[in-house]
Symmetry: C2
Subunit: 169 residues, 2 copies
DNA sequence: TATTGTTATACTCTATAACTATA
DNA sequence: TATAGTTATAGAGTATAACAATA
């Protein structure tokens, strides 16, 4: 794991790592003009999203879990017995991609595909006992990641954003 | 280009395509529980970001340009003569990836790498005349995409988000 | 005819590591 | 020693098409 500075999510837990690690000098760069990018919401949404993903992956590195995998585990837990098609539709993931995603989670013993009692084409998805136990710990770490975000963004601003975006998709 | 429905950005320009194309019936799906995802800002930021990218690509399909390419063109135009390292740092793109990105734009005659007058290791990036002219038209389409977003999100909410995120990265 | 899960392909993007030529 | 541009690789993710089994 290499060190990362500036725009990336900080590896330090809190506040100012000022006099701690004797931060190496970095090349000074000119502040550039963003041009019309400054008026495009998409640019800033993307920057925020990248920051969030990086912090999520780092904060949950002990579990080797990525945001997409997390979302799959959470939705299966909340809706046991659901089908792959329904899961894919809910999360906006391609059915085709979900296959590999579930293969991975299944190989790790976290999820299970059972035959659907009502439709022989589809699978009924559930968490294994290990999956439930592991997800409990994962959720705890994910909450810590969310705290990082609130800290970085300001708790008030984070709440505003959450409410504003909740009804979007 | 296949049809796309529901969560994706609508292909229709405005309002309600209700009685127009006699939309095909879609399988009815149960509304699933998002579980703790509902409290994670990252999930909704990701959904919004995906929507924005899709609408951007569709709205600018006549130019075959993607968000990353757009951001590169805009920042070069606003900071002629800048280096690849500075551009990469500003946009949060890996230096390694920027190389291919610029190769593509250069092949299309939009950008140019000139020798830096002060540092023989680095390049001074500029738009070509074609690049300037093309970008002008691209920016017009990008503005239309931004209008779609404001329409979808609500103009007021869009403004709030832009202000909230501008100072993030 | 349409849907479910699946396989396959192409492309974008992130994350790294390494190399060369310069500074 | 460090930086600039480059090449290469591995993996995630998107987009798309096709197929067999089933509805």
């Amino acid at each position: 794991m290499a060190e990362r500075q500036l725009p990336g999510p900080s590896a330090s837990e809190s506040g100012a790592p000022q006099a701690a690690g004797r931060a190496r000098a970095r090349k000074q760069r000119p502040v550039l003009d963003l041009g019309v990018l400054d008026g495009h919401l998409g640019y800033f949404v993307r920057r925020l999203q990248v920051w969030i993903f990086q912090d999520f992956v780092r904060t949950l590195s002990a579990f080797d879990i990525r945001p997409a995998q997390f979302s799959v585990l959470v939705v299966i837990e909340a809706n046991p017995g659901l089908s792959q098609a329904d899961l894919a539709e809910t999360l906006g993931i391609e059915r085709a991609r979900l296959v590999r995603l579930l293969d991975g989670l299944e190989r790790r013993g976290l999820t299970r595909r059972r035959p659907s009692p009502t439709d022989r084409r589809s699978h009924a998805l559930t968490l294994t006992d290990t999956g439930v136990a592991t997800l409990k710990r994962i959720k705890s770490q994910a909450a810590e990641h969310e705290a990082h975000l609130a800290n970085r963004l300001g708790a008030d601003k984070r709440d505003v954003l959450l409410k504003a975006l909740r009804n979007f998709a």
